[in-house]
């Protein structure tokens, strides 16, 4: 049983980290896009569209999103079960979430800092890479922490539809076979992962926040 839990933990971590990485590296640029569109007079229409899409994707419950995505997942990943298929689903669900979180952080940059950066003659690319990202870095670390902890829950849900990992272990052995000790250990590992993420993320953000 111990080796099963160990393997399931590795699978969960694999799904978690890869989807977290993909969602962060695609979600933050989308967040930048949202922020820039919302502040540019000519792009208000585009903002409304992106805003709506983000809202729609965020309001679909994850388990239903997984079902809706089945044909797409099959096309893209070649399969609908296993950790890799789950990573695709998790990433799709997490990108709009991360985009919204990062957009909120960008909106929190004091307008004076934007003004003074503009007055130094920064172009838009410099504005993003030299001002918006560095000025929100501690917040973004916090956002990634929230994202990863959410993904811990999502990986467990994905386990119910064949993703593997601790979620599937808990359902197959615990729920269907009444091995409650397996459920118990799986939950302990999930809680431990969440605690570790929260602790590390919080510490990192605090260290960056001067």
């Amino acid at each position: 049983m111990l080796s099963q839990i160990f393997n399931a933990t590795l699978e969960t971590l694999y799904m978690l980290l890869l989807s977290g990485f993909l969602a962060t590296s695609l979600g933050i640029p989308l967040g930048v896009g949202l922020y820039l569109c919302s502040r540019s007079r000519g792009l208000k229409g585009l903002y409304a569209l992106l805003d709506l899409l983000v809202n729609i994707f965020r309001s679909i419950p994850f388990i239903i999103l997984v079902l809706l995505l089945i044909p797409v997942t099959k096309q893209v990943m070649g399969t609908i079960i296993g950790p890799n298929a789950a990573i695709f689903n998790l990433t799709i669900a997490a990108i709009p979430f991360m985009a919204r979180l990062s957009e909120n952080s960008f909106n929190g940059v004091p307008s004076g800092i934007i003004d003074s950066s503009n007055s130094m003659g920064l172009n838009r690319w410099q504005m993003v890479t030299r001002v918006l990202i560095p000025e929100t870095l501690p917040d973004q670390i916090g956002n990634v922490t929230v994202l990863l902890i959410n993904l811990v829950t999502y990986t467990a849900i994905a386990g119910a539809v064949g993703a593997g990992g601790l979620g599937q272990l808990a359902i197959n052995y615990g729920y269907y076979r009444f091995q409650w000790d397996v459920v118990f250990y799986a939950v302990i590992v999930l809680v431990a992962i969440s605690q570790f993420l929260q602790f590390t993320g919080g510490r990192l953000a605090r260290r960056l926040r001067k």
Binding site: P110, G112, I113, D115, S116, N118, S119, M120, G121, L122, N123, Q126, R130, V131, P134, E135, L137, P138, L208, R209, K210
Partner: protein, 329 residues
């Protein structure tokens, strides 16, 4: 002339409709000059300052900076103009997660200037501004005065032709204010940098400004030398600044003729009053007097009572040698 603003108009739209912020404002700034923009809050001072480097686009009018009309320039061209104009904001706006050194070097780094050159320039400026021992500190660890100087250093490092200061003393205590004003004057004299200062602080106007632009409800009510602005204040034509001097009733009845006299410039140091009084054989009684040190010369206000047969002649003579004279009663 480094800056010339012609018929600037700006309005904002909100729920209650269109609001005029700037109404046909025209003014000019000579190279090496310090010009103050004053007025009540909401008069359009900060909006005017923000239009000068196009942070705030205007409805109509022209802004000639260094001979180039910057209204209607392409965005890339605007960016180049902005690099020649330093701005120090009211809230300083330092980057929160960069050290003082990184903040000051920031404008140079984004221009890709060599590291060696950056270091030399920054050290010179930091030393001149008394910041050299604080370079590793983060903005949150600096005092208000240090943050202010850091913001000035960040503007200076670009070697700007002109620096815009927005309410530079609003967050500083009187002592720090004094040091800041000395710094502005010395930067102006030593490096020939032109300053445009938005303020409602009389000390800033007195000690730094060559000329003053007075805005009222978006209109330019006055634009001229600082001492002339003070005449306006003394004559109660600027309701927003100072309050009229009220003389005690007893004084009024005890004196036959009361004059209010304004002096300006080198004459302030001469015994003009005594000379003319002696020539006309009148007795004078000083009821009130003050002298303010303006940047372009001392400015004096005097209220005197006059008695004697030739008092009318005295008034005529005095009127010729002072800046302004008014018979109070």
């Amino acid at each position: 002339m480094i800056l010339s603003v012609e018929k600037l108009n700006l309005s904002f739209e909100d729920k209650s409709g269109k609001r005029k912020i700037l109404d046909d404002v025209s003014l000019s700034v000579e190279e090496g000059e310090i010009v103050g923009i004053v007025g009540l809050s909401g008069a359009g001072k900060t909006s005017l300052l923000r239009t000068l480097n196009l942070l705030q686009p205007v409805d109509s009018g022209s802004i000639l900076f260094d001979g180039l009309d910057i209204v209607g320039l392409k965005e890339s061209e605007v960016r180049n103009v902005r690099k020649k104009i330093g701005v120090v904001f009211q809230s300083f706006n330092l980057y929160r997660y960069r050290t003082l050194y990184q903040n000051i070097t920031f404008p140079l780094k984004i221009q890709g200037i060599a590291k060696k050159e950056i270091e030399e320039r920054v050290m010179n400026i930091a030393t001149e501004l008394g910041l050299e021992h604080r370079l590793r500190a983060y903005p949150s660890q600096l005092s208000g005065g240090e943050q202010q100087r850091a913001a000035i250093a960040r503007a200076l490092v670009m070697d700007p032709k002109m620096i815009l200061l927005d309410e530079p003393t609003s967050a500083l205590d009187p002592k720090t204010t004094g040091r800041l004003l000395d710094l502005v004057v010395s930067l102006n004299e030593k490096h020939g940098i032109t300053f445009v200062v938005v303020t409602h602080d009389m000390d800033v106007i007195k000690r730094t400004c060559d000329r003053v632009a007075y805005l009222q409800n978006g209109k330019l009510d006055f634009f001229g030398p600082t001492h002339e602005f003070f005449v306006k204040i003394e004559n109660n034509e600027v309701s927003d600044f100072g309050k009229p001097l009220e003389l005690e009733k007893g004084l009024l009845s005890a004196n036959k003729k009361i004059l209010r006299v304004l002096f300006w410039g080198t004459r302030t140091h001469e015994p003009v009053l005594w000379k003319i009084a002696k020539e006309n054989d009148v007795m004078i009684n000083i009821l009130y007097g003050k002298i303010e040190e303006l940047k372009n010369g001392p400015f004096g206000t005097l209220i005197i009572g006059v008695e004697g047969d030739k008092q009318d002649l005295f008034v005529e003579e005095l009127r010729k040698s002072v800046f302004f004279l008014e018979e109070v009663c």
